[in-house]
């Protein structure tokens, strides 16, 4: 993992001091509300429905055990003893006191963490494949590029006041586990025929009010040109993105208005001036970062013996068997597996984790995962370096902490924004809907029978729950002051990217749980043997689902 050098550390320390001064001036009445708002947003601090909310950056989803332990400890002392994982791999604290935030940021800075640019009209946190560096289908580790982009984009003076927020995601594998095609800029690491690294570049993807899959602006960008090309895109956007209407200010609007060909021409014209300048990445600079991500400490393990051991345990323990099957994945290194820690359990909002769980999980990361943890946009956590032979012990330890729910990828592995319970922007609640749905699939056998289904819930059109790319997407809408939900089906990001299609009229809150259940029942009734939900939907279309959901009892 990347570790701060003196410049990185000085930057976050100075930033804390700067924000402390800004907050003090605000509390003394020397700084206008509107002006302070732009400053605090750029330090991740929102004022929300009930309390301030602090969004802590987890750069491209990678954390150390110590960092996780610190967030846990901070949540206990400054907040209500829990934190939330977001769909952009960040952490959120929902209840900090505003005047305590500089102290929180200081404690975070001590463990190389910060909240810079997690909000505001600037370049936001880079997101990436939670299996980066360890996935068998990986072509090249995307985290190297994420770190380079992070540094380039942090406190970039020219791009400090963009028309709107800007989100970049990077994937280094065949399967897109970072949803790059629904980001403002999506990057996929590729190799050319000479084995040199480069990128396919998408631009203008996004969710929210106007979901759209990004357009390819460049099929091949040599690696040394990455930063200069991004600078060209951002400059064109900064100069020409709309500023008259915040709902029309994202780069996707500009790309749609100009068309990709014209937009590409503008970027390429600008880039001609930048490509040979000091933004060109040198091999030395790339190496400096790449070296940090080389994984040391893998043991030469006797996989066969470990497999046998695990197989025996699985035969004798159906719960462990289910967890192994659902929550662990193949690893590039023999003798290892990637473990997903589910934060989707009864009694907890999706993606929430308690202080005690964070601290205990940090210890497990130290013991079982080389001290490393990842955050997922699916609002779960990952232990990326678990030894197969230790999985049984790890599972038992996770289960004791109520972090062993074997439901990854199932219908109860729901992504939900904080919704109306927390967020001032929401039209409707999402957490209770998620709980209602999950409760209906309590029986584990039934759960696995359904296979992979992704439900994503957003409380409003801002789509922070990414409902547009949910197999079943729910969108909270306000209908005459009441909470109703739009259903979309068939959204996905992974092997390919698609925006879900609206099923029909909005459904009232008290009926939405039934509606979802009927959708699932329809899948089961319609499916061919071995067909998963998305395949069945593609084959039979929306009609059977629509009929089931909107049928009137006779």
């Amino acid at each position: 993992m990347y570790s701060y050098n003196t410049v990185d550390q000085q930057l976050v320390d100075e930033r804390v001091a700067q924000f402390r001064d800004q907050t003090q001036r605000y509390l003394n009445g020397q700084l206008d509300e509107e002006v302070y708002k732009q400053l605090r947003l750029r330090n991740g601090l929102y004022i929300q429905r009930h309390a301030p909310m602090l969004r802590i950056a987890v750069p491209y989803g990678v954390m150390t055990a110590e960092q996780l332990r610190t967030v846990g400890d901070i949540s206990r002392r400054y907040d209500r003893g829990y934190a939330h994982i977001t769909t952009r791999q960040n952490f959120q604290l929902n209840w900090p006191a505003l005047d305590a935030v500089p102290d929180i940021l200081a404690e975070l800075a001590a463990v190389q963490m910060h909240a810079m640019q997690t909000s505001g009209n600037c370049i936001r946190n880079l997101t990436c494949d939670p299996f980066a560096g360890v996935a068998p289908d990986e072509i090249e580790d995307p985290r190297v590029w994420c770190e380079l982009i992070r540094q380039w984009s942090t406190l970039h003076a020219e791009f400090s006041f963009l028309p709107r927020k800007f989100k970049i995601a990077v994937i280094g594998a065949v399967i897109d586990r970072a949803a790059v095609q629904v980001h403002d800029i999506g990057l996929q690491v590729r190799r050319n025929e000479w084995g040199e690294s480069g990128f396919r570049v998408w631009v203008g993807g996004g969710l929210g009010r106007t979901p759209v899959v990004g357009k390819v602006i460049r099929e091949w960008l040599p690696r040394r040109d990455l930063i200069s090309y991004l600078e060209a895109i951002l400059r064109v956007y900064n100069l020409h993105g709309r500023r008259d209407n915040i709902y029309k200010a994202r780069i996707k609007i500009l790309v749609n208005a100009l068309g990709i060909e014209v937009f590409r021409d503008q970027v390429e014209n600008e880039w001609q001036f930048l490509r040979d300048g000091d933004l060109q990445l040198t091999d030395a600079e790339i190496s400096r970062i790449a070296v940090a991500f080389r994984q040391h400490g893998y043991r030469e393990l006797n996989s066969a013996a470990a497999e046998d051991y695990v197989a025996t345990r699985r035969r004798h323990n159906p719960l462990f068997d289910a967890w192994y099957r659902q929550n662990t994945a193949d690893h590039r290194q023999p003798g290892y597996r990637i473990v997903t820690v589910s934060l989707k359990s009864h009694g907890q909002a999706p993606g929430d984790i308690s202080a005690a769980q964070m601290i205990a999980l940090a210890d497990l990361a130290d013991t079982y995962s080389h001290g490393e943890v990842r955050t997922m946009h699916a609002q779960n956590l990952v232990l990326p370096h678990a030894e197969t032979s230790q999985l049984y012990d790890l599972w038992r330890a996770l289960s004791r902490m109520k972090l062993g729910n074997a439901n990854v990828g199932t219908v109860t592995d729901i992504i939900a924004c904080p919704g109306g319970d927390f967020c001032a922007l929401a039209n409707a609640t999402s957490i209770d809907i998620a709980a209602d749905i999950a409760q209906r699939f309590d029986d584990l056998d039934d759960l696995y029978e359904l296979g992979e289904i992704s439900i994503k819930i957003s409380g409003c059109m801002n789509a922070c729950g990414h409902h547009h790319i949910g197999g079943i997407g729910l969108l909270g809408v306000d209908k005459k002051g009441e909470q109703w939900y739009q259903i979309t089906l068939g959204g996905t990001a992974g092997e390919f990217t698609a925006i879900g299609e609206r099923l029909g009229p909005a459904i009232a809150k008290f009926e939405i749980g039934d509606a979802v259940e009927r959708i699932i029942d329809t899948y089961v009734a319609q499916r061919d043997p071995g067909e998963n939900y998305m395949e069945t939907l593609a084959r039979v279309g929306q009609t059977p689902f629509r009929e089931a959901v909107y049928a009137r009892a006779h």
Binding site: E14, Q18, Q38, N121, A157, N238
Partner: protein, 158 residues
């Protein structure tokens, strides 16, 4: 009262704005609008005067490429502080077009933006009120390191 500030601190503003309706004067240090510049280009170029040009945030830098030597001062407007186009325009003028005259930021300036503006090539800042003065000077001092290659080294006050 607006206060003009640069790297050495507060300074007297020697420039005045000549409105489009007023006749051009023969003394130096007049700021004019882009409309004025377009309509009276020849007369302005011919006069042996230090001119200044006010630029809106959507000004196209390239249109000035051949005429930059006419201007001793370019003043880029920030209608609201959150309109970040002026930062790009400043960089283009400095880095792309090689402008070496004074570059001033005017409009809705906030103390905490000054540091970013300086990094983009602005030399001076017309703060809307003197109350921002202290904060602007201090704001620039907080962050002494950066990841990007700034186009100016750190100056003394700003």
């Amino acid at each position: 009262m607006p206060v003009l500030i640069d790297a050495l601190g507060p300074k007297r503003d020697t420039w005045t704005f000549c409105r489009d309706s007023e006749p051009l004067r023969t003394e130096s240090a007049q700021l004019i609008s882009p409309t004025r510049w377009r309509e009276e280009r020849d007369e302005i170029r011919a006069a042996n005067v230090n001119w200044g040009l006010v630029l809106p945030p959507d000004a196209v830098g390239e249109e000035l490429a051949d005429d930059l030597s006419v201007f001793a001062l370019l003043a880029i407007e920030f209608p609201v502080f959150s309109d970040g186009r002026g930062y790009s325009l400043a960089r283009l003028l400095r880095e792309r077009l090689g402008y070496t005259g004074r570059l001033r930021a005017i409009g809705d300036l906030q103390a905490d933006c000054v540091a970013f503006m300086a990094r983009c090539g602005f030399d001076e800042f017309l703060l809307p009120s003197a109350e921002l003065l202290d904060a602007a000077i201090r704001a620039n001092r907080w962050i002494s390191v950066g990841y990007q290659s700034d186009i100016r080294p750190r100056a003394t006050v700003l």
